[in-house]
Amino acid sequence: MESSSVSAKQARSISKWLTWIQLGVAGILLISFSTLGVLYPENIRSPATIHSSIGILTTLISGYLGHRAFAIIRGGRMTIEPLRQLTTGLAGLCAVSVLAGDWLYISYQIQAQHYIQAWVQQRSYFFHQALMDFKPLIGWFPLPLSVAAAFILWQYGDATGKSRHLSLIVGILLALVWMYVLMSLILGLDLTKIRLASLLD
């Protein structure tokens, strides 16, 4: 073999690095989508930036954990420490996100300047009724579910991976958290779009 060619081991190493760089750049770009909101000249920019940045971070972490969940449900090996830390962090992020979301949703409902809810209801009553009224409730669900998952992982530690019943329950919880987080992310993005439309109207 020629000395200048790349060995299989080097190729694997390069591909691994490229994967991580790509993931990192994608993550930074995704989060900057919301953190750049801090530059907008408007009065709800601080809750909006906190809620959307934490929300996207929550989606990234719960997306990772949601994919791990299926391996956990199938009974694959699990290393408890990173899983436990990530789940605990996820529960904390959910709590912050819900509080900042309340702050925003109240202004969606009753803020004196804009009355976005009234604007939406006037134009598409069903849209508000079926989707926007669903969002503040569905966005709350990941908090108790991820707290329960974190509780099980802290309570039983390494034994969680060795018990089929416990790993099944943890896997189900993490997959459900991912589902609810995705639903509220999509509805939240929609709400942002509608808010901009109502401001331009």
């Binding site: 309340d102 702050w103 803020q111 079926a130 669903f134 709350w140 108790p144 099980i152 329950i169």
Partner: protein, 132 residues
């Protein structure tokens, strides 16, 4: 393998009591949250309440009846968790009924959160409790 063996945990048997308490109370908290939200929205008596708060959230001096359902849902979640934990922590409960109850409650919570389903049900609750 008979039914008895299939039901028992093959790897490490751990009593499921504390776990069941955690997940059932979480789902019950979700159900309480969405039911309370819908009921308050249906009841003019309750939704007319204006809660004055100066610190949270900023920019508003009153927030309508909005925080009530979260306070109720939060209290029911943590309250039932504590009670069920104290009652079940030494006991073993079966896996299947636990998961069935958990999914049932969570499904109801999601259905109540969706207004076209939740509104008629909460209307009936308001009528029954006479809090219109």
């Amino acid at each position: 393998m008979n039914q008895q063996e299939a039901e028992t945990d093959l790897l490490t048997p751990i009593p499921l009591g504390a776990t069941a308490a955690a997940i059932v109370s979480a789902a019950l908290g979700c159900l309480t949250l969405s039911t309370t939200y819908r009921t308050i929205a249906q009841s003019q008596l309750l939704s007319g309440k204006k809660i004055e708060i100066a610190v949270w959230p900023p920019y508003q001096s009153w927030v309508g009846s909005y925080p009530i359902h979260q306070l109720v849902g939060f209290s029911v979640w943590l309250g039932t968790w504590l009670l069920l934990y104290l009652a079940w922590r030494q006991r073993d409960v079966s896996l299947r009924p636990t998961i069935a109850v958990f999914f049932g409650l969570l499904f109801l919570a999601t259905a109540m959160a969706w207004r076209p389903i939740g509104e008629p049900i909460s209307h009936a609750i308001v009528q029954a409790l006479a809090i219109r």
